[in-house]
Symmetry: C2
């Protein structure tokens, strides 16, 4: 009987070790090409993501490319030329919404780029087609819209909640609609490699401010992945400090609204599941004094013990 | 009689000195906020210009603002915060055409900006109104177009050849239509302070390539100002090196096409008038190897002995 008990304990211990190893395994690498939410053209939202053992990335948003790649090279995240990173390592663009600070880098660099896909909701592709790749704002490097179409980029319309593979990578993505001042749509991208996930949210306001339930729906979709430790990180925006009035949030979050949304998530996952869970804060708006204030407000209101990460342009993150 | 001759010589000598002093007098200061013709989001076409004794500038194009102001501060061209330069020193924007690399900085920084005018040809304002300030690409910070109009920027339509004053500065501007792949319009801005001038050309191809006479018309308009030494400098684009085929110039110049246009100008002014005349080369496209090649090709084909200047982001030029 005692021998049986010992073997049972040993087996349970073995399972625990396996579980912990699995939980700590690194699956994704992310190179932020731009981390700010405004103004500084050299550092606007864009995050290259790839499986850790691969150099086949997609860009989550594309506000700044060349200037971010240059910084990434300077910080040792790449050891080749800017043009080669642009042409060879970025296999596609996932665009959360059509605001210029999320697409300018892709448009401006399109003449130097290679053939690739642009993945987005139909409402977002419509902005690219009707506002940017029009020959009036920019030559039409895509395969739809104002003629002649130069056929370098191929639009891939996404359906909310429906996973698609990301061509020339070993990644897939499931998009979820977000509200960014109704009825304007933004997108959350749930990126998958094998059975491990990473979640990136484009610009969005809190459900209570947006009079929406899009974030709640998103939390319901991803909370099982947090409980099972398959979701490795959430990238989420905080644009303004807490004193910004709700009426002047323009579809963005403050530290307290982010924490309120995290509380909603925690009510679905249980509090323990979020302890040390990586939350990468994107889209903080200048000036510097406000950037520091936002960081302080997040860290001092972190009752859930999230692992709050402030990304730096060009410096690789691993999850 | 000899006394009379002496006094005449003395008077002529005095006139010559006055003339030379006037010719060498500094009238304008220019701070390049962005000098490149592509790719690098941190350094796209934008030139702040003011009378040398004033801090009331306008921006000639606005591809990059904040990142350029930051560099200008680092290089000692300003000694105040980025936000104060943006809000207080830039009194208006002169936009040569609607391509994103000439307007992105203005659009992205509009939330932090103060009330000011945007001066452009009607065809250019149409691009701003219908493609950018639409609530789909960006909130409408202007006073026309998709509602609600936030009324921060006021559109001022320009007529080719007709001078208008630039509000809150002691400058005026006369626009001239340029061809940038027919029928797309770009603009040359002839900026005046008192009776002294500076000429800035937006993107354009050579007349021979564009099947146009817009540059010839421009040279005819400004050649008297060169002969009378009232024009202090020409800012003009060279995007590609000489080996770029004419069919792939996309409305841009090479060193040899620029020199051909300068020869046309010289046939109107006489060759002597262009010796040491400042020509500031804008819009050179990366990569670095091609940038160096363009510089070399310009300097080795400078039979007219122009004073060719390669501007540097943030470093003040005086004319």
């Amino acid at each position: 009987m005692e021998d049986y008990m010992n073997r049972t304990y040993l087996f349970l211990f073995f399972l625990l070790i396996c579980y912990q190893t699995l939980a700590q395994q690194i699956t994704f690498k992310v190179i932020p090409l731009g981390v700010k939410g405004g103004g500084d053209e050299s550092n606007l939202s864009s995050y290259m993501v790839a499986p850790v053992n691969s150099d086949e990335y997609v860009c989550l948003d594309a506000g700044t490319l060349r200037s971010g790649i240059q910084t990434a090279i300077a910080k040792g995240s790449f050891s080749k030329s800017i043009d080669r990173v642009l042409k060879e390592n970025i296999k596609g663009y996932l665009i959360s919404h059509g605001h210029l600070d999320h697409v300018a880098g892709m448009i401006i660099n399109s003449p130097d780029d290679t053939t690739k896909n642009i993945y987005a909701l139909p409402s977002v592709l419509e902005v690219l087609r009707n506002s940017y790749f029009t020959w009036k704002s920019w030559a039409n490097f895509t395969d739809e819209g104002d003629k002649p179409a130069l056929n370098k980029y191929h639009y891939v319309p996404l359906d909310s909640g429906k996973e698609v593979p990301l061509t020339n990578t070993s990644l897939s993505v499931t998009p979820f609609v977000l509200s960014h001042v109704k009825p304007y749509q933004s997108t959350a991208f749930l990126v998958r490699h094998q059975d491990v996930y990473l979640l990136y949210l484009g610009d969005t306001g809190a459900d209570a401010v947006e009079h929406s339930d899009k974030l709640k729906q998103l939390w319901q979709s991803v909370s099982p992945l947090i409980r099972s430790k398959k979701l490795k990180a959430i990238f989420m925006e905080v644009s303004f400090p807490n004193h910004q009035p709700d009426k002047q949030l323009f579809g963005h979050l403050t530290p307290q609204w982010l924490m309120q949304e995290m509380n909603t998530l925690s009510s679905l996952t249980g509090k323990d599941a979020l302890i040390n869970f990586p939350v990468v804060i994107t889209h903080i708006k200048p000036p510097v004094a406000k950037e520091h204030l936002i960081q302080k407000q997040l860290l001092t209101s972190n009752d859930l013990h999230l692992h709050i990460i402030f990304p730096e342009q060009g410096r690789m993150l691993k999850f």
